[in-house]
Symmetry: C2
């Protein structure tokens, strides 16, 4: 957030925090068409057996405005600008059978892609690239120049980036307004999957789709647990959002999507912060604000006082969902 107002290189934010733009290289697998067409990158959160992978961790390190080269089959054919922080999201339905070996829940990073006029073959530049490539987590082999099969999203320096794509057009500036499109499309696709799921009856389908918007049975259940906004105390039902703690798109089944214990009642601004990972709650009820929220915004939102107050402990079932939120949604 608030990291959008630069063009190139390190910039000073209003708050005088330094923000360093990062440069990335993605080694697409078979899903390049879906990712480029859909305006995103998607990866699992971990390798098989929950093994940590730096290439997947990098999905969470990428920030709005960062730049990416897209590599597949020996060629860089697209460059992209990161539009928003990665969000927890299921394997996109348009992958169909591709990537069935991956876990169902991963990171979706919204990216605006544009094609290069001339594709670039990194292998042709391996002599110049070699000293710039990192020892660990390199996207290509520094001797052969072949793609590293294990790599997905790898960090490269600005020098590497501009060596590969020196004349990147400046229409290529970050455009934060497109960031949500990829998520809306993923949710729409997921909704189509639910609509055509033969194992679900019509009522459940309807309730699952209403739950996407925090409506229907899910909302009723959340409203029966809470009387007012957990953070602000706002009481008017029309001003309260029944927010999923474990996001709708990340739920593993209908049970989680419709579980009242997976909900919090929040005023719209608190809901937005919670959804974007800029706010979370501890088991004992206290709010935690992300360091990614630019200074001053909490005051402008009118939430500074509410965030400093103590509250009751959450129920056990809710604490499990909150643990997911703190681990996977909150930007710590």
């Amino acid at each position: 957030m608030g990291k959008f107002s630069f063009t190139l290189g390190p910039v000073h934010l209003e708050s005088h925090e330094e923000y360093v733009m990062r440069y990335w290289w993605v080694n697409h697998k078979q899903t390049i068409k879906q990712e480029i067409g859909g305006g995103y990158l998607w990866s699992p959160q971990t390798e098989a057996g929950e093994k940590r992978s730096q290439f997947y961790e990098n999905m969470r390190r990428a920030a709005p405005g960062d730049k990416i080269v897209s590599y597949a089959n020996g060629l860089i054919r697209y460059v992209g600008v990161v539009q928003d922080f990665a969000r927890v999201a299921p394997r996109p339905p348009e992958f169909h059978e591709l990537g069935r070996q991956w876990s169902e829940i991963g990171w979706l990073l919204p990216v605006e892609w544009m094609p290069l006029e001339e594709p670039v073959r990194p292998k042709d530049h391996i002599g110049q690239l070699r000293p710039l490539l990192p020892d660990k987590y390199s996207p290509i082999h520094s001797v052969t120049g072949n793609g590293n099969q294990k790599a997905y999203l790898a960090e490269i320096g600005p020098q590497t980036f501009y060596l590969l794509v020196p004349s990147t057009p400046m229409a290529f500036a970050p455009n934060p307004t497109q960031g949500q499109d990829a998520l809306v499309q993923v949710d729409d696709a997921l909704q189509r999957v639910i609509s055509t799921d033969q194992s679900l009856d019509a009522t459940t389908k309807r309730q699952l789709i209403l739950a996407r918007h925090g409506q229907g049975q899910f909302r009723s259940r959340v409203m029966s647990r809470y009387k007012s906004c957990w953070l602000t105390g706002v009481q008017s039902p029309g001003l309260l959002v029944a927010s999923h703690i474990k996001p709708w798109r990340a739920c593993t089944d209908s049970g989680e999507r419709l579980d009242g214990a997976n909900g919090l009642l929040l005023a719209p601004h608190a809901d937005r912060l919670f959804d974007r990972g800029l706010l979370t709650f501890e088991d004992e009820g206290r709010a935690s604000v992300s360091p990614e929220l630019p200074p001053g915004e909490l005051d402008r939102l009118g939430l500074a006082v509410a965030c400093s107050m103590s509250r009751e402990h959450f129920s056990e079932a809710t604490c499990e969902y909150l643990a997911f939120h703190r681990k996977n949604v909150f930007l710590s």
Copy 2:
């Protein structure tokens, strides 16, 4: 808002404002099936030639918790509870050819309906009803007991209501959690109409659907007009909603749905108030808060100070949309 916490009869709100529950009688036309099934009432705003109609004005007077008897073909077969204030909405697409004579834009009142175990024929009770019926705007003729062809939503007293449906089950209590469902369904139906409109190209369709969620081209255009939330000054793009002034569902064409001048950049809580008609703006930029917002809520939302500040004059094109908002959306 805040009118949900009663069971029967006049109640005292926290603020000691008196809220009187109203009782209504609707004379359904051919669209009873759609209205009962969809959980709403829909009427045009005016009669042909923009002639004012008390029966349509009543749509805006109905408030959450009010009770309604549904009358068609001589029988009362359903009772309903109003779920939310009426919202400006197009003639529901599921009406198809029915009501083509009506204007495209009207009021949608969310209602939860339930069937009576035994239908009631008011004509059988006309002797008892006669002294209770109003002289003006009566839903049935006080002599013949036949339905008044001109009536749509007519106010009746509690005596009339309980004379007709004396043993209304109390599962019939207001359930404010269902209020949004009808609107989501209307928007979904409208989206299907757009998706299948042969006169629109694929790009425009995609942009119109993204605009429903305040995304895509519409958002880009609004973001190019404003740098921060008009009300609070919040700056982070991820916390800002590109809100339609004339609502997406009420726009008459693609031009209005994608017009940047029909947008305001608002923080999520300000957006919610604006969408629900609890907040509007004067041409000179100042906020107006609706008397329907319960006292204390503006403070709890953290918006009391922001609402008292003066601002710049809006552009001429935006003022036209604001006039629509003040007339049709704002709860004055």
